[in-house]
């Protein structure tokens, strides 16, 4: 007799514990007050990343198509994956030979977004963008040249 009572108690206790759990889910079913689902990509227009978000690396250019990169190669040295390659050239300014940036090659496919290039740049010419949709059809599209065509170095004020 006692065994039967114990058994029934156990079953009822089990059913009660299941109902307690169910009460939580039922509560959310009838009061979907805090919907956290984001309907991406429908919300593309309103989706805003945080300002420190580490997306693609880009070079800051001003309106006159000028950047501040001197081609020193510190970012290349600091990159742990070898995803940056700085090719410099020699230009002649006021009859003086000067080192300047030719191509700043950035291979996004190798980048781990650690932030060391942006942080170590002495002339603050690199920055992280907000772009996060980085998929491309061709792998070669991931290799980018960061300085825009015909861009020049900004003259220090």
């Amino acid at each position: 007799m006692n065994a039967i009572v114990e058994y029934i108690k156990e079953v009822l206790g089990g059913v009660k514990s299941l109902l307690t759990g169910l009460s939580v889910t039922v509560k959310y079913f009838f009061s979907p007050g805090e919907i956290v689902t984001q309907e991406y990509p429908e919300n593309r227009a309103t989706l805003k990343m945080f300002d420190r978000f580490r997306g693609n690396v880009y070079m800051i250019h001003n309106e006159q198509n000028q950047h501040t990169c001197t081609g020193c190669g510190i970012c290349e040295m600091n990159c742990p994956n070898g995803s940056i390659e700085v090719i410099s050239k020699t230009i002649v300014v006021d009859d003086k030979k000067k080192k300047a940036l030719d191509k700043h090659i950035y291979r996004m496919g190798m980048c781990t977004f650690c932030g060391l290039c942006v942080k170590s740049c002495p002339s603050k010419s690199l920055a992280f963008g907000q772009e996060f949709e980085n998929s491309v059809y061709n792998r070669s599209d991931l290799t980018r040249i960061l300085n825009k065509p015909n861009s020049t170095i900004a003259i220090k004020q």
Binding site: G21, S23, V24, F50, R52, N78, P80, T112, F113, L116
Partner: protein
């Protein structure tokens, strides 16, 4: 391998390859399970499916560059892993970081511990057939990931620490957001108990399953909440306080039931301990530099160094042998998950195959940390 085959003595014995692409292993882990009917006789883990040679990669990198690789060991406790390397470099160079850095690091570590345990809770429930937990856990984890993203720029792999401090100062919204998140979590955590802790199915599958005695926990080196579930006092935050852990009051959660339920409840209690640590620190972040000025090229003096921290899953250690160069001569990570996995064979012998999933879930394995 040889003695596993020798164990086959009856016709009903057979092998089952669990993984490497099995959803309940949470990654690419292959377990060769020797079964008699439904009962596990023994199992053999086969590692190496996600081996990336991180230790070797670290040897060619400089110390600031190592940080982003340690993110990718145990990706759910990226902060603690980063912190271990930073603390080691600072200890070797004798650099004293400001109190602000210590406070920020401690808060970030505890936040990532909460985030990690939330994901574990979600996945553990899912392993046992309760899919609801997965959605609820990830919903609350989202708040913490937003905090990380706002301050560090990364959601999962933050790379926030650097030798001598942290990469950026905390975001102006940081304190407000953390407080909001704690209020939110305090409201939601009782729901977790309702959903899973008291559930009769869960109780039957967790209580008395996967026993690991204290002696075995010590000899296998099982640390973290799993080891403390067996009564093994192994909290590095208490034993060797680093960062700001000596300035806060918190309890080391120890249970002696040694089963899956003890490990589960340990983690649930650690939510509250972590929240109390954050609450003690969040209002008193002192002013100061967020980064101590370091040399552009960091060279550790010749010698051997070891630093351990309490990651979300246990004791994480970094050993560095330096020859005075800018990159380490040899680096070795003591990962908590490899030690925890080594105890799995001992724990599942004689249990049912379905319990193997429950026990593995309660150990909270992260596979990239095992293979490195």
């Amino acid at each position: 391998m040889t003695n596993t085959i020798a164990n086959i003595d009856k016709e009903e014995d057979y092998f089952l390859n669990l993984g490497p692409q099995h959803p309940s292993t949470h990654g690419v882990l292959r377990l060769l399970v020797n079964l008699r009917g439904e009962v596990v006789k023994d199992l053999k883990p086969y590692c190496g499916y996600i081996h990336r040679g991180i230790e070797k990669m670290c040897e060619r990198n400089t110390y600031p560059q190592i940080i982003h690789l340690t993110d990718r060991l145990d990706y759910l406790s990226a902060h603690q892993n980063n912190e271990a390397v930073c603390l080691l470099v600072e200890k070797a160079l004798g650099v004293e970081v400001s109190d602000r850095v210590k406070y920020i690091r401690t808060i970030m570590s505890e936040l990532s511990r909460i985030a990690s345990h939330l994901l574990w809770w979600s996945a553990f429930g899912m392993d046992l057939g309760a899919l609801t937990t997965f959605f609820y856990g990830l919903r609350d984890r989202e708040h913490i990931l937003d905090i990380f993203e706002e301050t560090t720029g990364g959601r999962l792999l933050q790379s926030y620490n650097c030798p001598g401090g942290v990469m950026y100062d905390i975001h102006p919204n940081f304190q407000k957001r953390v407080k909001e998140c704690l209020v939110h979590l305090k409201k939601k955590l009782p729901e977790y108990d309702k959903l899973l802790t008291g559930n009769v199915i869960f109780k039957n599958r967790a209580i008395g399953v996967g026993l690991l005695s204290k002696e075995d926990a010590i000899s296998f080196g099982v640390t973290g909440p799993s080891g403390r579930g067996s009564g093994f006092s192994c909290d590095i935050r208490k034993l060797e306080p680093y960062s700001a852990y000596d300035k806060v009051q918190f309890d080391e959660i120890i249970r002696t039931e040694c089963d899956s339920m003890a490990r589960y409840k340990n983690r649930i209690d650690e939510f509250y301990q972590s929240m109390s640590i954050i609450e003690q620190l969040i209002d008193n972040i002192p002013d100061g530099d967020y980064q101590t000025k370091m040399k552009p090229i960091i060279k550790l003096p010749e010698g051997q160094y070891y630093q351990r921290v309490e990651s979300s899953r246990g004791e994480f250690g970094v050993f560095v042998e330096s020859r005075g160069e800018k990159n380490p001569y040899r680096i070795k990570f003591r990962s908590p998950n490899l030690a925890n996995l080594s105890a799995l064979d001992h724990m599942v012998r004689g249990q049912k195959i379905a319990d193997l999933i429950a026990i593995m879930g309660s150990l909270d394995l992260v596979i990239p940390d095992i293979d490195r």
